[in-house]
C-alpha cells in the first residue's frame, strides 16, 4: 500500500481502544480513537479516514446510530465501516449489514483477522 491507511476506532472501552491501537499501529496503520458515536462524528467532521471500526454498545450514540449518520451524510458515506461484535451469528451479520456496515470483526479478535478485515475493505 503506497499510503498509510488511516483507521478510526470507536469504542467506549479504553482497553479495547488500546488493544485495537496496538494491533493496528504495529501493522502500519495510522490510528485515531473516539470513545463513542458522538465523538466519532465530531472527529469525522474535521478529519479524513479510510476505514472506521466501531463497537456497537456505546453510550450517547451507539454503533448502529453512528453508521446511520455516516451513511446519511455526504462526506464519509462511502467509507468502509467495520463493526466489532461479540457474536458471529448470521442474524447479527445481517443486522450489521442492514444497518450499513461494510463488515465485522468478531470480538475477541486476533490481530491477523483484524488486519485482514481492514485490508479487505480499505479502498
Amino acid at each position: 500500500m503506497s499510503r498509510t491507511t488511516r483507521v478510526l476506532t470507536v469504542d467506549d472501552s479504553a482497553s479495547m481502544r488500546a488493544l485495537l491501537n496496538h494491533a493496528l499501529t504495529s501493522n502500519g496503520f495510522a490510528v485515531s480513537q473516539a470513545d463513542d458515536g458522538v465523538s466519532a462524528l465530531e472527529w469525522l467532521a474535521v478529519n479524513e479516514v479510510d476505514v472506521v471500526i466501531t463497537d456497537i454498545n456505546m453510550p450517547r450514540l451507539d454503533g448502529f446510530g453512528l453508521i446511520e449518520q455516516v451513511r446519511g451524510g455526504t462526506r464519509h458515506r462511502d467509507r468502509p465501516i467495520l463493526v466489532l461484535t461479540t457474536e458471529s451469528s448470521d442474524e447479527k451479520k445481517a443486522r450489521a449489514r442492514a444497518a450499513g456496515a461494510t463488515g465485522w470483526i468478531v470480538k475477541p479478535f486476533d490481530t491477523e483477522k483484524l488486519v485482514a478485515a481492514v485490508r479487505r475493505v480499505a479502498h
Partner: protein, 729 residues
C-alpha cells in the same frame, strides 16, 4: 503501550464498570428501571466480557457471558424486573466483582456454578426453552483466546509478510491443462452502498489464482440512464482446482447478499437486479430537479446526486432497518456521558498541581512585596489574586473525584454482612457527588469499610432486640458527605443501640488502657474505642474484630490530615464524623512566631488557642507547667525549649497557648510568642529536599519568601513528653 499497560487499563475500566452496574442496579432496586438504567448495567457487564475475552480470562468471560445473556433478556423485556430478579442480579454482580479480582490477582475464580444455574433458570423460566450451559459454550472460544494472548509477542512483521504475499501475487502461474472451476458473480447496488468496493474482491479472487474468463457488459445502459452505484457488470472467473469454494465464499462474507454468487461450469452470471435493490437513500430524485417525472431511481440518480443535503432526514425515515434505540439516540441531543474522561499520567497532573502551588506562593510574595513598596489594592492585583485562586481550584478539581465511587461499594459490604450476621440494614446515602482529592478517595475506602462493618456488627442490634426496643427490625445506615468550610465532612451513622459506655469503660480498665479510678466524660469514654488494642465485642468476630480495629481507622484518617469524632446517644445510635481536607497538597495552618522563627501548626491538630491567666497555669515538679482547661490539666510545651532555640516565650504568660490534639499523648498546649495568621499553605517535603527531621512534617514558603517549618505535632509532643503515653496511663 505494552500489553501489561493495556491490561491495567482494562482493570481500571472494570472498576468503573462494576461501579456503574452497582449504581444502576441500586436504582433498579429503588424502583427506577427505565431503558437507560438497564442499558447502562448491560453495557457495563458487556464491556467487562469484551475485555475478558480479549485478555484471555476464561472464567471471567464465561461468567460474564451468562450474566450478559440474562441482562440482555431483561433489556429486551423478556424477563420482568422484579425484586427477586434485582436481588439475583446484585448477587451476580458481587460474584462478578470477585471474578474480576481473581483475574487481576491471578487467584482462583470464585465458585459460580449455583449462581450461573440460577441465572439460567431465570432466563429459561421466562424465555421458554432452557438455555444450554452458557459457560461451557464460551469455553472453546476461550481456549483460542488464551493462545491469542500469548501471540502478543509474535513476530507481527512475519504475519504481515504472509498476508501481503497472499494478496499481491497469484500462488503459481496456472499450469497448462490444469483443471479449473468457475465462479460467477455480480455485485448488486447495495455492495457499494455499504461502503464496499467490488474491485477489491476481484483483486482477492485474482490473488487466489483466479483468472477472469468473462466480463459481462451487455447490461450497461445508455448514458442518460446510467447510475454509477448500480452493478451493471458481472464476471466469470476460472479458479485453480486446489482453491476451495469456501475460500472464495469467504471473500464475499462481508458483502453477503449484496453480491450474487454462482458456482460451477453449468451456472451463469447471476442476473442484474435493479428493481429489488433500493437505491442509496440520498440518491432519491430531488423534487425540484426532476419535477413531474416519476422515473425509476436508476434513471435519476445521476441528476440528483449533486443535490444531497435535503435528503438526509429522508434517509433516516427510509432506513427502517436501523434499530429504534439507535435512531432515538441519534435524534436527541446527546447529553454529555457521565463518565466521559481522558486519562492523564498522574505524574503530569501532580506536576501541574505543584506548579500551581508555586504560583500561589509567587502571587502572595508579589502582593507582599508591592505592599511594602506602598502599592496595594490595585485592580490588577485583585484580578491576579482571583485568577490564581481559580486556577488553583481548577487544578485541584482535576484531581477531585466524587466520593460516590467509595459509597457505591457499601451495598456490597452490607449484603455480605447481612449474610454473615443476619442483620438486614437499609442504606441511606446523600452527597455522593461531593468531590475530594483522588488520593483521599482511594485511601478512604479502608477506614470507611471498617466503620461500616463496625456499625453493623456492634452498633445495630439484632432484629429481636430492635423489636423489643420498639424499633423497625431493619436497621438503617446513613452515609453522607458534604463540603463544610473548605473541608469534607463525612458521616457514618447507624440507628442502633449507641455506645454502651459502661461496657467500654469496664473493658478499657480491664485492658489497662485507663486506670480504674479515672473520671472520664461521656465523650472521653466514647473516644476510648480508638485506643490501640481495644475491642468491645463479646467474642472477636471475623467481621470487625481482629483486634486491629478503630485505632487503625483513626490512624488512617489522621494520615489523611483528617479527624474523626463520635456522637453517640444510648438507644438511638452512633454517628462517626470524619472531617477531611479537600486535598493533601494544600493544608490549613496556623502561622505562629517563636522567637525570630515562623512556624506552621497544621489546623487539623489545633483544638483551641488561648492566652492563659495566672490561675490557669500550675507548676508540676520543677520543670513542667500544666494548663487548666475547664478543670482538666494538660501539659504545656514551650516550643522554644522543644526545638532548642535561644529566643521565644519561656513562661506561659509571655505568649499564647495553642491546645493541640495528638494521637499518642492526648492533648497538650504549645507555647508560642504569638499567632500571626491562619491560611492555606503548600507542603514541601523536607525528606525529599533535605532529610527527615523529627518533629517537623515539612516546610512551606511564606508570602514574603521566607521558609517556614511545618510542625509534626504528634511527633513533637511525643518527643517533648516522654512517658506521657495517654495521660491516664
Amino acid at each position: 503501550m505494552s500489553p501489561e499497560e493495556i491490561q491495567q487499563i482494562f482493570f481500571a475500566e472494570c472498576e468503573e464498570s462494576l461501579a456503574a452496574a452497582e449504581s444502576g442496579l441500586a436504582a433498579c432496586k429503588a424502583g427506577t428501571h427505565d431503558t437507560d438504567t438497564v442499558n447502562a448495567v448491560f453495557r457495563a457487564v458487556h464491556s467487562i466480557k469484551g475485555g475478558a475475552g480479549a485478555f484471555g480470562y476464561a472464567a471471567l468471560q464465561g461468567y460474564t457471558h451468562t450474566f450478559e445473556t440474562l441482562l440482555s433478556d431483561v433489556r429486551e423485556g423478556l424477563v420482568p424486573i422484579e425484586n427477586k430478579l434485582v436481588d439475583l442480579l446484585l448477587r451476580a454482580l458481587d460474584t462478578l466483582s470477585d471474578h474480576v479480582e481473581a483475574a487481576r490477582e491471578g487467584g482462583d475464580a470464585p465458585g459460580d456454578a449455583s449462581l450461573i444455574a440460577e441465572m439460567e433458570a431465570s432466563m429459561a423460566a421466562n424465555a421458554g426453552a432452557p438455555i444450554p450451559a452458557a459457560a461451557e459454550d464460551a469455553q472453546p472460544e476461550v481456549a483460542d483466546i488464551a493462545e491469542g494472548e500469548e501471540d502478543f509477542g509474535l513476530d507481527l512483521d512475519a504475519l504481515l509478510d504472509d498476508l501481503t504475499a497472499d494478496f499481491s501475487k497469484p500462488n503459481e502461474a496456472p499450469a497448462a491443462g490444469e483443471k479449473r472451476w468457475k465462479v460467477h458473480l455480480r455485485p448488486h447496488a447495495g455492495a457499494m452502498r455499504n461502503g464496499s468496493e467490488p474491485i477489491l474482491m476481484l483483486r482477492e479472487i485474482a490473488a487466489l489464482g483466479g483468472e477472469c474468463a468473462h466480463c459481462e457488459v451487455s447490461q450497461i445502459p445508455q448514458l442518460d440512464g446510467f447510475d454509477p452505484a448500480q452493478g451493471y457488470l458481472g464476471w466469470t472467473f476460472s479458479m485453480p482446482e486446489k482453491v476451495e469454494e469456501t475460500a472464495v465464499r469467504e471473500i464475499f462474507d462481508f458483502i453477503g447478499e449484496d453480491c450474487a454468487l454462482a458456482f460451477g461450469e453449468d451456472q451463469d452470471i447471476p442476473p442484474l437486479k435493479i428493481a429489488q435493490s433500493p437505491p442509496r437513500p440520498v440518491a432519491k430524485p430531488a423534487s425540484a430537479a426532476t419535477a413531474g417525472e416519476p422515473s425509476p431511481a436508476a434513471d435519476s440518480a445521476v441528476l440528483s446526486t449533486p443535490v444531497e443535503r435535503p435528503q438526509a432526514p429522508e434517509a433516516k425515515a427510509d432506513d427502517k432497518a436501523a434499530p429504534a434505540p439507535a435512531a432515538a439516540a441519534a435524534s436527541t441531543p446527546a447529553p454529555p456521558a457521565a463518565g466521559q474522561s481522558i486519562r492523564i499520567d498522574l505524574f503530569k497532573l501532580d506536576r501541574l498541581i505543584d506548579l500551581v502551588g508555586e504560583l500561589v506562593i509567587a502571587q502572595a510574595m508579589l502582593v507582599q512585596r508591592l505592599g511594602m513598596a506602598g502599592i496595594s489594592a490595585t485592580e490588577e492585583l485583585a484580578l491576579l489574586e482571583s485568577l490564581t485562586r481559580d486556577i488553583q481550584e481548577s487544578a485541584m478539581s482535576i484531581r477531585a473525584q466524587p466520593i460516590g465511587s467509595v459509597f457505591s461499594r457499601v451495598p456490597r459490604i452490607l449484603r455480605d454482612l447481612a449474610s454473615s450476621t443476619g442483620k438486614h440494614v437499609k442504606l441511606e446515602v446523600s452527597g455522593e457527588s461531593t468531590e475530594l482529592d483522588k488520593t483521599v478517595v482511594e485511601r478512604l475506602g479502608e477506614p470507611l469499610t471498617h466503620l461500616i462493618r463496625n456499625a453493623v456488627d456492634h452498633g445495630i442490634e439484632s432484629a429481636e432486640d430492635r423489636i423489643a426496643a420498639g424499633k423497625d427490625p431493619e436497621g438503617t445506615l446513613t452515609l453522607s458527605a458534604e463540603h463544610r468550610s473548605g473541608r469534607i465532612v463525612i458521616s457514618i451513622g447507624d440507628d442502633g443501640g449507641g455506645i454502651n459506655r459502661e461496657r467500654v469503660l469496664a473493658k478499657a480498665i480491664e485492658k489497662g488502657i485507663v486506670s480504674p479510678d479515672v473520671q472520664l466524660s461521656a465523650e472521653e469514654i466514647d473516644n476510648l474505642i480508638f485506643a490501640p488494642g481495644f475491642s468491645t465485642a463479646q467474642t472477636v468476630s471475623n467481621i470487625s474484630g481482629r483486634g486491629v480495629g478503630m485505632d487503625v481507622v483513626r490512624q488512617n484518617v489522621k494520615e489523611l490530615g483528617g479527624r474523626i469524632t463520635i456522637e453517640s446517644a444510648p438507644g438511638k445510635g452512633t454517628n462517626f464524623i470524619l472531617t477531611l481536607p479537600l486535598t493533601l497538597a494544600i493544608s490549613d495552618g496556623m502561622i505562629v512566631n517563636v522567637g525570630d522563627q515562623t512556624l506552621v501548626v497544621p489546623l487539623a491538630n489545633v483544638v483551641e488557642s488561648l492566652r492563659p491567666g495566672q490561675d490557669d497555669v500550675q507548676g508540676l515538679g520543677v520543670s513542667r507547667d500544666m494548663l487548666n482547661v475547664r478543670g482538666r490539666f494538660i501539659p504545656i510545651i514551650a516550643l522554644r525549649n522543644a526545638l532548642g532555640w535561644k529566643s521565644g516565650a519561656q513562661a506561659p504568660e509571655e505568649g499564647v497557648l495553642i491546645v493541640v490534639d495528638t494521637e499518642s499523648a492526648g492533648q497538650a498546649a504549645l507555647l508560642v510568642d504569638d499567632i500571626c495568621d491562619q491560611r492555606q499553605f503548600v507542603i514541601k517535603s523536607l525528606a525529599t529536599n533535605f532529610r527527615p527531621v523529627d518533629g517537623v512534617a515539612g516546610a512551606t514558603i511564606l508570602g514574603d519568601g521566607r521558609v517556614a517549618l511545618i510542625l509534626d505535632v504528634d511527633g513533637l509532643v511525643a518527643c517533648a513528653l516522654p512517658g506521657m503515653e495517654r495521660q491516664a496511663a
